[in-house]
């Protein structure tokens, strides 16, 4: 058991998160809770931890889907736009449907989000395969198209979501007032499904195979187009589910939702160790990457650093880290080949 934990590829990320969290706890200071009168740490308190998990949940859920595409050697820049389109479509369908039974409302909302996002993912996959154009170009195009469609159909309105959905996304599950663990639980469930898919199913191994070496995979008899289509559909579905959760949690949907999220999603996968050249990555690492990025954002607030520097700090940290990581890997590879 202990050996399995030590050999886990996520061990490094988990330890880094723990070290960062410990440092933040020590440096954060404390305040008196106006409700209970108790002194609580500004970082290490249930509210902050669950709120961070909520903030990370959208990036992590979309990150699991995007990681599948990245492992398969592609990229999906349209996840933020799929999120926006799925969200406004759900809001419009629910508005048109009018008042309904709460359970029916939730299922209609979820069904709409997943259907729209599935169609978007399918469109991405079909175009990548059929037009034989790099996924970067296709999904860059669909990023604009899908957000444009969301803008046009919603007339740029901010459309309110029925309370039944918010009641689900903000269910306290017995934790107490203003503690909402549903996004956290959804993030964990989606990550677990992604991890099982990648590590315990034949289809998951095929995704690694086509990302590692598409030519060899083809000669081995793998249906590369079908697998490619599958990862784009799953990436779309993940974005649709994140949209359902986000719109339900915040209580409204607009065409400008999730603007720029695609970069956070890709960053989560990369920080988690995914290789943009394909064949490498993990769902759990993508989730931990999202949590790490959100923790860094939180650190800027907790330490009272000027938040206008957030993009500079996170962007610089990403570039420096990935460049140093690559150079270190090359150095290591050179030493290994020299010693062989």
């Amino acid at each position: 058991m202990a050996r399995a934990v030590l050999r886990s590829p996520q061990l490094g990320l988990v330890l880094v998160l723990l070290v960062l969290a410990t440092a933040l706890t020590l440096a954060a200071g404390s305040h008196v809770d106006p409700q209970t009168g108790k002194t609580i740490n500004n970082f290490l308190n249930t509210y902050t931890l669950i709120q961070m998990a909520t903030d990370a949940s959208a990036f992590a859920i979309m990150g699991v889907g995007a990681t599948l595409v990245i492992i398969a050697g592609g990229i999906d820049l349209s996840v933020g736009a799929i999120y926006a389109l799925a969200g406004v479509s759900m809001a419009m369908v629910l508005r048109a449907a009018g008042p309904m039974d709460p359970v029916a409302t939730v299922f209609l909302g979820l069904g709409t989000c997943l259907t729209v996002s599935l169609l978007c993912g399918l469109a991405n996959g079909v175009m990548v395969i059929g037009l034989k154009v790099h996924p970067f170009i296709i999904t860059l195009g669909t990023m604009w198209i899908l957000r444009g469609v969301a803008f046009v159909i919603s007339r740029a309105e901010s459309i309110l979501i029925p309370g039944a959905l918010t009641a689900v996304a903000k269910a306290s599950l017995g934790l107490g007032t203003a503690l909402y663990p549903v996004p956290l639980l959804c993030m964990l469930v989606v990550t677990a499904i992604g991890a099982l898919y990648l590590s315990r199913t034949v289809m998951g191994r095929h995704v690694f195979a086509i990302g590692g070496n598409p030519e060899a995979s083809r000669f081995s008899g793998l249906n590369v187009p079908r697998i490619t289509l599958g990862v784009f559909v799953l990436s779309g579905l993940a974005a649709g589910f994140a949209a359902f959760l986000g719109a339900a949690f915040y209580g409204s949907a607009t065409s400008s939702d999730a603007n720029g999220y695609e970069l956070y999603v890709i960053a989560s996968a990369v920080v988690g160790g995914a290789s943009l050249s394909g064949g490498k990555g993990s769902a759990v690492s993508a989730m931990l990457g999202a949590v790490l990025i959100v923790t860094m954002r939180q650190a800027i607030r907790t330490l009272h650093l000027d938040q206008n520097y957030e993009w500079i700090i996170i962007g610089a940290a990403m570039i420096v880290a990935v460049v140093l990581d690559q150079r270190g890997s090359r150095l290591l590879a050179g030493r290994l080949s020299a010693s062989a």
Binding site: Y47, S158, S252, D257, N259, L292, R301, L305, A317, L324
Partner: protein, 342 residues
């Protein structure tokens, strides 16, 4: 995979983050370390790239400094405004402010639907919320500082109709489509336009609330409607650029806009925007912080709506207004306007 490579990327991210944060802190951008009693107000405006909110921040910090001196304590403004307009991010920032022990929150909402839940939760958890500029109606916020936006729109259109001699085609430059305050101003413009049989509103045009996006929208509209004679701007974003000074002809086009910041004053001088209606944006922060302190710390009664009136700026009072801006801390006021007699 070896242990070292497993560690490397996340560890390097954090190491690089720590170095950047340390460097920033060393440059004096770090947080407050003052001892003694501290009253923290988290200020969450719509966007930290919009100059009107930076002016509001200056007002808030000036009020905080005065209150600190007067009451022998530290009143601190925690600036949590997102870089871009995003209601969901604002909702996250409200929760962060509550979780980190803010005593009160001052908010201008980008999307009332998205932040209403977070506002109510903050109040339920004992952190009072005040709104300014863009309200969150039907929420538990205790007060709103701002104008009557419909009346602002009416005032804007009445002035534009006067400048255009009561006839011609008008486009409304409307900013972010999700902001309730801007929607109300647009309604006011349309209501007022209906009083003038010679005035036609061609449409209201939304855009991202950045100077470049707004100016580009103005030019696109001008090209689409070559016979356009007036722009009613419910916010001054487009006039923060210089491009319209050369791209629009003041003999053919008249602009009347809300806001009158230093960058907009040349438009008054050239006559392209003969009248600007200034929001006292410095007061957004200054008045709101004083109102919050009165209500939360001094337990005084405050009105649910603190009225904000617009200031009419034209060539007649350009110098006076320029000096007012300078006094509010704007460093970029052109000296030639400061030298004007009135």
């Amino acid at each position: 995979m070896s242990l070292s490579t497993r560690w490397s990327r996340p560890a390097l991210v954090v190491a690089a983050f720590a170095m950047a944060a340390y460097a920033m802190a060393a440059c004096g951008k770090g947080g407050d370390t003052s001892a003694g009693k501290t009253f923290t107000i988290a200020m969450i405006a719509k966007s930290s790239t919009n100059p009107v909110f930076l002016s509001g921040r200056q007002g808030a910090e000036a009020a905080a400094a005065e209150l600190s001196k007067a009451h022998g304590m530290t009143v601190k403004i925690d600036w949590l405004t997102p870089p871009n307009e995003d209601g969901a991010v604002q909702a996250q920032r409200i929760s962060e402010a509550v979780n980190s022990g803010a005593n009160a929150i001052l908010l201008s909402s980008s999307d009332a639907g998205k932040v209403r839940g977070a506002v109510d939760e903050a109040v339920d958890r004992g952190v009072p919320v005040m709104t300014f500029d863009s309200d969150v109606p039907d929420s538990k916020r205790f007060s709103f500082y701002g104008g009557d936006d419909v009346k602002m729109g009416v005032q804007l259109m009445d002035e534009l109709a006067t400048q255009m001699g009561g006839k011609g085609k008008v486009a409304i430059i409307a900013g972010n489509q999700n902001a309730l305050n801007l929607q109300a101003r647009v309604r006011g413009v349309r209501e007022a336009a209906a009083k003038y049989p010679g005035i036609t509103i061609v449409n209201a045009f939304n855009h991202a609330e950045t100077p470049q996006d707004a100016a580009a929208e103005v030019l696109r509209v001008k090209n689409a409607y070559p016979d356009l004679q007036g722009f009613a701007m419910v916010g001054g974003w487009a006039l923060f650029t210089r491009t319209l000074l050369t791209d629009l002809d003041p003999r053919k086009i008249k602009i009347v806009s809300v806001d009158a910041l230093p960058a907009e004053l040349p438009y008054v001088e050239t006559g392209l925007a003969p009248v600007l209606f200034a929001q006292p944006t410095y007061s957004w922060g200054y008045v709101s912080v004083n109102t919050i302190f009165d209500h939360v710390y001094l337990k005084k009664k405050v009105p649910a709506h603190v009225q904000m009136d617009l200031v009419r700026v034209s060539k007649d009072n350009l110098g006076t207004w320029a000096r007012q801006l300078k006094a509010w801390g704007f460093a970029d006021v052109d000296p030639k306007y400061l030298a004007l007699p009135r």
